[in-house]
């Protein structure tokens, strides 16, 4: 089943097409890694899927509905690169606020705090949290309502390796529960945890499919090498 379908998407930012004529299908219930160098259009593509980006042309369907429409807004959880939190109130008040906005029950807040290991920080001001702690809180808020689709923009950037491992465990758990996850990273190694891969370079999708297929196609075990091989092949053509 396809949960996100993108047809001929082009997005212009500052008179430049940062996403160029992209076509994609993202499969339901899997972890898809959106990989590519910094500045290749990952964030813009993700914001378009969430429905907060002005797009130039093309269409995006989420579970059959137009992206950003009222019907699907509750079904898409989005974690942006900025933590997007209220720094002057506590962890509890931040998560409690979004829980009320989403109409989520109180016990779910505790579940999420457990899952993101933030129980000891409940009363801390967000302004006093470290980058990694903020990232976990931001992730926690985006999974509060158990949305069917999760769009996570570089959730593991700058976090220590131990926490990175933990976060990927959380993502696997969510995927097992049936959530569709689209996770971006500029670190190719993170492909390790993904079933499907989207490789992007300067606004274009250069590969979209399963990881095993990518490895077979390029004869490279290392995703970075595979990425280079695909780019070189494309440029030779």
């Amino acid at each position: 089943m396809t949960s996100i379908k993108i047809n001929n998407l082009t997005v212009e930012r500052g008179k430049r097409d940062v996403v160029e004529n992209v076509n994609l299908n993202i499969t339901e219930g899997k972890i898809t890694g959106l990989l590519g160098p910094s500045g290749c259009g990952k964030t813009t593509l993700m914001r378009s899927i969430v429905g907060v980006q002005i797009i130039k042309s093309g269409e995006i369907f989420i579970l059959g509905e137009e992206s950003g429409s009222k019907e699907v807004r509750g079904e898409v959880g989005y974690m942006s690169q900025d933590p997007a939190l209220y720094e002057d109130i506590s962890v509890n008040h931040n998560i409690g606020y979004f829980a009320k906005v989403l109409g989520v029950k109180k016990n779910r807040i505790n579940e999420v705090l457990d899952l993101t290991e933030l129980n000891d920080y409940k009363k801390s001001l967000v302004g006093n949290l470290s980058g990694g702690e903020r990232a976990r809180l931001s992730l926690g808020i985006s999974i509060l309502s158990k949305p069917k689709i999760l769009i996570l923009d570089e959730p593991t950037v700058g976090v220590d390796p131990l926490l990175r491992r933990k976060l990927w465990n959380v993502f696997s758990k969510l995927s097992e529960e049936g959530h569709t996850l689209l996770i971006s990273s500029h670190v190719m190694d993170e492909a390790e945890y993904c079933e499907d891969i989207i490789l992007m370079r300067s606004g274009n999708v250069v590969y979209n499919g399963s990881k095993s297929n990518l490895i077979n196609k390029t004869d490279e075990k290392n995703i970075e090498e595979a990425f280079i091989k695909i780019i070189n092949k494309n440029e030779d053509r």
Partner: protein, 245 residues
């Protein structure tokens, strides 16, 4: 609109304000200090404080609510929290109404405190009702919130947002009848002052200080101010965009 979302957002906004003791102290203390200076300054001129006091009192919420609204909503835009809310089932009107409601609370708090100081301690007198002066001033504060919402969408930084204050508010203060009565304004300026909400707030406060009766002029000033406030808040709401470049 969702009452659940609005209620939660109002609680969250007021919680943020409550934590900021310095801002709260300034919100109440600064206008009080200015009114004290004004009363002392005019103490040797008979009747002068009674003439100016109530009108100047009514200007404070407009200025204060303009500033705090434009900075607070700009902070939501730049921190990404507005984008997060816009990715959720939250309407633009939920967002702007929450700010209007939260900051009306603050306006009422400010004006009530200020009225207490002016009427009870500084000897300001009115022939009309103090409650009406508080109500008119609160409306004026709401107009400030509307202006603030709109100007924060034009501003890219807090620095710019604050710069919008003199442009939007100074002409209103000059033309509202405080310095030259509106009927004596030269041709052209009188017509401009008819288009500015503060003019009606000052007209209404002037009526409220001389009588208790609800005259035609009094009611029409209050309802025009109410209409302006409503339109400004709607304009403010439309400046919030779900999709951004």
């Amino acid at each position: 609109m969702s009452s659940r979302v609005i209620f939660a957002t109002v609680v969250r906004i007021l919680r943020q304000v409550k934590r900021d003791h310095m801002s709260l102290a300034l919100l109440l203390g600064a206008p009080t200090a200015i009114m004290c200076i004004l009363s002392y300054m005019l103490s040797d001129i008979p009747g002068a404080f009674n003439k100016w006091g109530a009108t100047i009192l009514a200007i404070f919420p407009l200025v204060m609510m303009f500033i705090i609204t434009s900075v607070a909503t700009l902070r939501e835009r730049t921190s990404g929290t507005l984008e997060r809310l816009m990715s959720l089932p939250v309407s633009k009107l939920d967002f702007s109404m929450s700010y209007a409601i939260s900051f009306s609370f603050l306006a009422i708090l400010q004006v009530t405190f200020l009225s207490f100081v002016c009427f009870m301690l500084l000897g300001l007198e009115t022939k009309g009702s103090i409650i009406m002066i508080i109500l008119i001033s609160t409306f004026n504060g709401l107009a400030g919130t509307g202006f603030g919402l709109a100007s924060s969408s034009l501003a890219k930084t807090e620095f710019q947002a604050v710069q919008f204050m003199p442009i939007t508010l100074f002409p209103q203060i000059l033309l509202c009848g405080l310095i030259v009565p509106r009927d004596f304004l030269p041709k052209g300026l009188k017509e401009i002052s008819n288009l500015l909400p503060l003019s009606y707030a000052i007209d209404a406060v002037n009526e409220a200080t001389v009588q208790t009766a609800f005259t035609y002029e009094y009611i029409s000033s209050i309802s025009t101010l109410g209409g302006f406030t409503f339109i400004l808040l709607l304009i403010g709401a439309t400046t919030i965009k779900r999709r951004t470049p």
